[in-house]
Symmetry: C2
Subunit: 532 residues, 2 copies
């Protein structure tokens, strides 16, 4: 098949493809830019079949690189710009990148790399040995005005690790993205005049999938460099944005600034994922008239697996709904047997959106019927209607004295106390119990006594679930995508991770203001967002 | 993959799947009905790999049969209920049907067949040797609650012949329908609450494709037995119908009865195809606020190939827009070379929606690059923007004294005369010229003299294009799908076809009132609608 940008340039040449920094590109114009970009990267020595490392924030050239990959016949390694040089070195080596694309912002980190491949800078900055893209010839541009792909071709390597563990490179094919785009369209709809605001980083599947699916749909992407609540809100009210993908923290911050009387009138859906949506946030958004669709997704399944439409969210806040068509979700016990409705178990997913496998691993195992399944490590249940509820990332499960404790359950109780604004719960090592419950609280009322809160919990939770260690902070440590940073929580509760290679610390209230803070000094961590 | 109804029953069990005769079926309920229907057909001896003949009007059981095919592992032969027994005999033999499904309405014709396979009647009518469906056991229903298919599996044989020639059986795979559904969704959009009113017969690709694509989308079909303008209009105003497929004549009749002040408020798109849309009809509909999308489609490409959105129609009434994504359209000269923009040529189409081939023929030839192309026989051109204009079905082209004459051009001029309500032009054999122009007119003002009309034409058309034979009728003969019946026109102009085997005559003003006339005695012909 034609590569998707080329195909859409034939199907809808004058449709709006991309809006960035108030510049609008039609598919035809974007296609022309991509052809030039690809020609220059080819001149830099990009080889068909190779891997192209992309270390860019959300900017035009990052989008061009995503589309150019099919023209160049390369696999992308979409690298997190927040990583340390040591972390990047590891990922670049594992992905076997033969060229690295950076800009003036990421150049500093790039120059700190050991054993980096040849590097190209998309900004006109002279820092040998980095090559300036604008000084490369584009004389082969005719070769890059269209390309062909198959659905089995690899599209990108995306490193993912949830909120802990070593990042692993998930290899996604064009077929997985294609199936995901279709499943998403058939669940949440698509309209010719759709315009999807993308503020998630393109190195997360929830970001890059917006680019690719909008290209297939022939619809527009409104690409933003970072999440600035006031600017995003203004955009939602001023421009015909019909769709937006958000992590819960982003929605929370928008609603904080939001005039309840008037939700953005063009917005037909806000896709909420990347972390579990607190039911009260979903309820509040629905109450304010925001059309929120909660979703469960993961990098390994090219983003969305299940999605609840706004009407479902209103009916069942907290659920992520039913699987997309052709996606499959099961909840199994430790022997791999399906759990009865309502019973907790591990969520396993299948279907055509699954990755080929992790880099360096064998491809995903296939069951005798030919279906591949991926064990997510997440805990959840299916209710009697077949709607999925995600209870906990398995890596966050606390096991205390042999009892399973789900932090989300404790967090919900603690948050219900009127003096508590926010709360996070993790397991803290205990010689006696294996793990004990530790809680980090953000208080609404600083005069409250912790014992009051514990007494409140005692009437609502079994004894073994009660927090044993409590810390109060001004703000919870979260990743750029709004997920709790478990490493930061552990540090706050006395279990530092400073010895972990390549990390510069672990969050805490130093994270404050990282959204929208251009020059923020928030620590880099290896944690990546799971897909939206 | 799971068959699509089974997949959607998992993904959206409580979504509305089908509304018929004011009964509403969710996907779950429909799936249950399909399972029972399939079990009974299996009990009647349906064999996996066989061909199931369907001779039904638009009714619940026709829809059940469409979904049951995947469960039974059979290919459908969707038979035109307007055919003569002799025509049906030929098609049933060519398709090698091993079972024929009829109802009380088609039973009479079925009993007239020679060499018919075993027959099942979906109504409780006792007419041995026809088997009553309700007397077959459904005890194997568990085996038919879900099925699996591949995209290479054959879905149906659809007989097509445009408006002339011998019908040929186009073999469509599930993959062609799948690609068509996707291409259509990405062009005209899809929304979770969509409801598509289907009044086209399910034995035409424009009808059956509505069932299948809505199933993939998880959206509702509002299935109608026949086109009754008043009832359809009432439905459009009373029910949340968002989409409707119409042939131009149907739209014309709706607009005749339509209150211009208020287009149906839920309707987001009326897909207009099956025959060329007169530009003035498109303009009138747009003026009245109807969101009309003109389309070019054909059975051999599983329906839509190109579609112009309402905004395009307003800008360029008469064009059918650009190809759907991954569909390909070229206009070539007689040597197969691409014509320059604006130059007439034969329309050839390619892409993943193409049929596998005609029954009894070789599969479609593939070019050296692996692409298959289908020569439509239709004449058209691509304008400088890449928009397609369909000028004429090739079979309708008049060649007079070596000059190509496009009936549509003459028709447009004749219709522009104030006394002319409608006009059709065909070639009439001429010993001297090969063919001459014949015109059949419907007059608005019966007092006008034909010479006035010819004088009007003379100032607007080259001499060789002027009608030489003229007939006046009360209504033009049209097929059920609104296409001109060329056979009927030829008869009116003195070139009878009564000798043609299996036909009972040829139309003319006896056609009047066939829409909505339950007991109409309109002649059956072999003409089938091309896809919408």
């Amino acid at each position: 098949m034609h590569d998707w940008l080329a195909a859409q340039t034939m199907a809808r040449p004058d449709g709006v493809a991309l809006v960035i920094d108030d510049t609008t590109f039609t598919f035809r114009a974007l296609n022309e830019r991509v052809a030039g970009f690809a020609a220059r990267l080819a001149a830099a020595g990009t080889q068909r079949g190779g891997v192209l490392g992309i270390l860019l924030p959300n900017r035009l050239e990052a989008a061009l690189a995503v589309y150019a990959a099919a023209r160049l016949g390369v696999t992308l390694a979409l690298l997190n710009t927040r990583l340390t040089p040591a972390e990047l070195d590891g990922q670049i080596a594992r992905a076997a990148c033969s060229l690295l694309v950076c800009d003036s912002e990421t150049l500093g980190v790039a120059l700190e790399l050991n054993g980096a491949p040849p590097m190209v800078c998309v900004d006109p900055v002279d820092r040998p040995p980095v090559i300036r893209l604008d000084q490369l010839p584009a004389d082969t541009v005719e070769n890059y005005r269209a390309g062909t792909i198959t659905l089995d071709d690899p599209f990108a390597i995306m490193f993912t690790s949830g909120t802990s563990g070593t990042p692993r490179g998930a290899l996604l094919t064009y077929g997985a993205i294609f199936a995901s785009a279709m499943g998403s369209a058939y669940r949440i709809g698509v309209l010719p005049h759709d315009r999807w605001l993308c503020v998630l980083p393109l190195y997360h599947v929830g970001g890059v999938s917006i680019l690719l699916r909008s290209c297939l749909y022939g619809t527009a992407v409104d690409l933003w460099r970072r999440f600035e609540p006031d600017a995003i809100l203004q955009r939602l009210y001023a421009a015909p944005v019909t769709l937006i993908s958000l992590v819960p923290t982003m929605l929370y911050r928008l609603l904080e600034r939001h005039d309840p009387a008037t939700p953005p009138c063009a917005l037909r859906l806000a896709l909420l994922g990347g972390a579990a949506t607190p039911p009260d946030l979903a309820e509040r958004a629905a109450h304010l008239g925001w059309p929120v669709a909660t979703t469960y997704g993961l990098t390994e399944a090219a983003s969305q697996v299940a999605t609840a439409l706004p009407e479902d969210v209103r009916r069942k806040p907290g659920s992520v709904g039913k699987p997309l068509i052709f996606s499959q979700v099961r909840v199994v016990d430790e022997s791999g047997r399906d759990q009865a409705p309502g019973m907790y178990g591990e969520i396993i997913v299948g279907g055509p959106t699954l990755m080929q496998g992790y880099l360096g691993d064998m491809p995903l195992e296939r069951a005798p019927d030919g279906d591949a399944w991926f064990a997510t490590g997440d805990i959840g249940y299916l209710d009697a209607d077949g709607d999925l509820w995600v209870v906990q990332r398995r890596s966050d499960l606390i096991i205390s004295g042999g009892e399973n404790i789900y932090p989300s359950e404790i967090e919900q109780v603690v948050r219900a106390h009127p003096a508590v604004a926010d709360a996070a719960v993790i397991g803290v090592p205990s010689p006696e119990w294996g793990q004990q419950v530790g809680a980090v609280l953000v208080l609404r009322d600083a005069t409250v006594h912790i014992d009051d809160i514990l007494a409140f919990c005692r009437t609502r939770l079994a004894g073994y679930k009660l927090p044993r260690i409590v810390r109060v902070v001004d703000e919870l440590p979260r990743t750029a995508s709004g997920k709790l940073q478990r490493a930061g929580l552990r540090e706050l509760l006395g279990e530092g991770e400073t010895g972990r290679q390549g990390e510069r610390g672990g969050g805490g209230d130093r994270e404050r203001g990282r959204y929208g803070d251009k020059n923020n000094n928030a620590p880099r961590t290896g944690s990546l967002q799971e897909g939206i």
